[in-house]
Symmetry: C2
Subunit: 202 residues, 2 copies
DNA sequence: GTCTATATCCAGATAGAC
DNA sequence: GTCTATCTGGATATAGAC
């Protein structure tokens, strides 16, 4: 009789190679820029010839797509792994720090996830779905802070994205805008709570 | 005797061609993306062969550089052409509208001026100087609103850049974040004025 | 699975005729 | 000033041997 193995060693090996490819792709992107990633360099970095990559990915776009998914999963993990405080203000502060620091940590990842900058790349439907999970999670955390309203959430995203953008563009490696996170969050919380109160008790 | 002409017709012609090249470059960038600009397409668009472009620009980077200067001059013109109101709140509102609308108007220009996205391009010293003029002008308008402090200005730039970034990335062509400008500015003004008062009168 | 060899195409840039 | 012709090098991708 043929034993049917419970582990598919071949699939495991394949997944490991895919992970290795993606890791190398991130590394190259960090030095050459996201648009500067080439299959030549990528293959060289892991000791392969360029055509071999096609055994794992259908195209270069597919690699970007996988990176897009990976980046979003990383952010999602940070959001869900967090112990969220009860207090609204503390929750918003934590959320802002999580997002801005995640953005600043890896500029190329930030560009891939949040800016449309590589020509001809748009995430596939599957990849986009993962991005939606992140969005929903952030939306949920925001609502948990007691501040409903889609306009309120839009303002919130503008604040954290603005802090990220400025930190990355004008003080990379520094903390000129990171230091302002709490002040901005508090400004927003004061504003949102007073608006909330006004609406309830005019 | 040789008449010395007061107008240099040759230089005028040259400037006109340069302007034509840059205009075409912007147009192509708008459809193909900034990184998708090629000298082939550019030359074709104005009825030239690619090598002829080198009579006017030393390299492709020099073209990006000229575009960078042009974009900054456009923004500078908007800032200086403005009749600025006396009232601080009104001034900040106007400034925010100017900046965000300028950004949203032309995404490629926004990318070139405010995001580091094209591989291997950094503005030359001369070009950077023009960008500094813009920065100084904004800084000055901000100070005129009675809100000093470099941290206050940093928060301000984060707000307008965040509104721009979100509008461009998540609702291009719409007004989901444009509609929020006044509310955000007012939130900021309230915050800044109260902090200002607190510092004066603790 | 990985390779060699190659197809195909496009890029920026230069030499030199006119 | 603008051209033709060309250099040089890069890219993604495929065919097919092993």
């Amino acid at each position: 009789m043929l034993e049917i193995p419970t582990r598919d060693r071949r699939a495991e090996r394949r997944d490991a190679v895919i992970a290795e490819i993606l890791e190398a792709a991130w590394e190259i992107s960090r030095t050459e820029g996201l648009a500067g990633l080439s299959l030549r360099d990528l293959a060289a970095k892991i000791g392969m010839r360029p055509p071999s990559l096609y055994w794992y990915f259908d195209s270069k776009r597919a690699i970007y797509d996988a990176m897009f998914v990976q980046g979003n999963r990383q952010l999602l993990a940070r959001l869900t792994d967090q112990q969220w405080p009860e207090d609204a203000r503390a929750g918003l502060r934590l959320g802002a720090h999580l997002f801005v620091e995640f953005s600043v940590e890896d500029v190329q990842r930030y560009q891939l996830l949040f800016q449309r900058t590589i020509p001809n790349f748009e995430p596939s439907a599957d990849a986009y779905a993962v991005a939606m999970l992140v969005h929903d999670q952030m939306r949920e955390r925001f609502a948990a802070a007691g501040l409903g309203g889609s306009e309120a959430f839009d303002i919130w995203t503008a604040l954290v994205s603005g802090l990220s953008a400025q930190q990355i563009a004008n003080d990379p490696g520094g903390d000129r805008w990171l230091r302002l996170i709490d002040e901005v969050v508090d400004m927003y919380t004061d504003h949102a709570l007073s608006a909330h109160a006004k609406r309830k008790d005019p």
